[in-house]
Symmetry: C2
């Protein structure tokens, strides 16, 4: 079903109308809340349907199955993910290294703000990671990373170390984000919020500076 004419975006709360109107986005929003509250393991398709105020089988007409819904949600997550990085970057100094550090902080912001979604995107088998649009979203995020690394270390490209430097940057930010979400890294977590931020910034800056 490639073309679905948007059926008029029902104004809002007729308490009971047989057709919902624009269920698909409503399901995605509901799924996000479900994910945030019940976590990725306790995620239930029926729970999503209930949240959207719709029968338990309704989602099937918009997403093939639970995997399809989670896949779409993950793809959407990747867009917010780069948005979070850009948000940090607009507030940062414009030199290449500061921009790269800001991207890393945005990476961590996103993970901590949406932990379940973050895990859905990076460490869950439930979404279909072969899906075209999900792949595309993920690769766009990846491409941005490589660009930022290139900006922070213009020599790297010629020296042939770009790949390794990109891997380093990614691993460092991802490791911090994942461990923080998991509640590990107590040495960082036990400090007050402001100190955490400056500490994370220092770790990133030190790890990402060109040699």
């Amino acid at each position: 079903m490639p073309s679905r004419p948007p059926p008029r975006a029902k104004a809002s709360r007729q308490p009971k109308s047989y057709h919902h109107g624009n269920l698909r986005p409503a399901l995605l929003a509901a799924a996000e809340r479900e994910l945030a509250e019940h976590g990725i393991e306790g995620f239930s398709l029926r729970g999503v349907a209930k949240r959207a105020g719709v029968s338990h089988a309704a989602p099937a007409h918009h997403f093939a199955d639970a995997t399809g819904l989670l896949t779409a949600l993950a793809a959407l997550g990747f867009e917010r993910f780069v948005a979070a990085q850009k948000a940090r970057q607009t507030k940062a100094a414009t030199d290449g290294l500061s921009q790269l550090v800001a991207a890393g902080l945005g990476y961590i912001d996103f993970a901590r703000a949406h932990p379940a979604l973050f895990r859905l995107m990076f460490s869950s088998d439930r979404p279909d990671h072969g899906d075209r649009t999900l792949c595309a979203s993920a690769e766009a995020a990846m491409a941005k990373l490589v660009d930022d690394v290139r900006g922070a270390d213009p020599q790297a490209d010629a020296a042939g170390t770009l790949a390794d430097r990109a891997a380093t940057a990614w691993a460092l930010a991802h490791g911090l984000a994942d461990l923080l979400v998991a509640g590990r890294l107590k040495m960082v977590l036990k400090r007050p919020a402001a100190e955490q931020q400056s500490s994370l910034a220092a770790i990133l800056r030190q790890g990402l500076a060109p040699r």
Copy 2:
């Protein structure tokens, strides 16, 4: 039920004996296979019971519920986890930095050899991360890390940068491991195995060297 006298460790394959003999370790082994084959999301308690050749309710007498089994499995994983690091370290040069790099490579070895178990330990909500023995195992691994960092950079302790350096080392190794397991990091994965190893070693060494 703290003391369970091991009931004589039934020799082996009576094809049908009502009592299994030593179900608890058998269940852990079965659970590990189940986890490796079906992944953490497809993990089923009944599947484990079937693998162990026992009724689906039998595990309840050894583990309170699925969470309990997974918790025990995660704790067991942490011990193998440090074993993998030590294995690398015995083959490495004895200076502090090389030892730390070797620990990082062992970290990655473990994750790639047991990806589902790795995720169970670090990025799943299914085990009970408040469990005492699980906490203890995890903290032991953590303590080893801090030791290795201290060994690689003896100044750090006095300079008060030990915590940040430990966080850096952990994040770098963890990030590499997690991204590799997720099939990301294509810039590393697309190279032949031997090159991967040297590349990972280089990334770790560069990121972990004291400044």
